[in-house]
Symmetry: C2
């Protein structure tokens, strides 16, 4: 289902996730791809802490960046590659932006907006439904999240033991 | 259910909606209220065209503004008054921001994220569920939307007849 190009794009998204990890932000990364040229045109990862903005998820940052660059509200000629299934906020925003395809690595049953029972793209309230592909480099995408939250729990445990 | 203060806050949200109408943006307005003082601390309306940002809904603009002002990601001591039921993107963002109460004027069965079958606040994927109150100045909130879309359709019809 996925070719070499898909892998290199998700690899770029994973590198963004890794940058977020080192900024102590939830390690989700994403890249935007121009469907006409196949090129990656923008990269982002979560910056909710840095920007004091609970909406500063990787997907939202990419939508804002590209729409502002082009002076438009809709970017139908772009695909997004994102390490983890978008949350309901991002799933809705990707629909508003008319993103062509959403390719994600690992699903997120606890907080996802697409495959979880939220199933936003199966509801008539969102008029545009991006095409969805999933499972690309799933293990790597999931692994960095697991490691992040395991460390967080470790810190909490250590702090409790010290306190 | 609603008192004089509620009405004056929704009136302020309606004034914001009216400003959006005159900027040719979808006329939805909102205000943020400090639950400790009862004061309106921020006002906004849709600016998706002006900002080339499909996420620039009134609710998102208010969350960003207040979170950045306070240097936080969560604003649990604030209520939002918004003229129309929030869309799925905004409903999720209001949950992430830990908004205390969402008071809206008119429901939006076609695009809403709360009372429509999307029903985001009934799903476990969103951990914080703001308290919801609705129907405050419903007619006025709905009226300005109707007028806006009737004018849009009028322009289209005129253009077709002229063309």
């Amino acid at each position: 289902m996925f070719d070499e190009k898909d892998h290199s794009r998700m690899q770029a998204a994973l590198e963004e996730a890794s940058l977020a990890f080192h900024r102590d932000e939830v390690p989700i990364g994403a890249v935007l791809v121009d469907t006409k040229t196949g090129e990656i045109v923008a990269r982002a990862s979560n910056r909710t802490i840095e920007q004091s903005d609970p909406t500063a998820h990787a997907e939202i940052l990419l939508i804002r960046e590209m729409c502002q660059r082009l002076g438009v509200q809709r970017i139908p000629d772009y695909d997004i590659y994102v390490t983890i299934e978008p949350c309901p906020m991002c799933a809705a925003a990707l629909s508003f932006a008319r993103i062509q395809r959403v390719i994600f690595g690992a699903s997120d049953p606890k907080s996802g907006g697409i495959t979880s029972p939220v199933a936003l793209y199966q509801k008539p309230q969102l008029h545009h439904k991006p095409k969805i592909l999933s499972g690309l480099m799933m293990e790597e995408c999931r692994e960095i999240m697991k490691r992040f939250f395991a460390e967080k729990r470790g810190f909490v445990k250590e702090a409790r033991e010290e306190g």
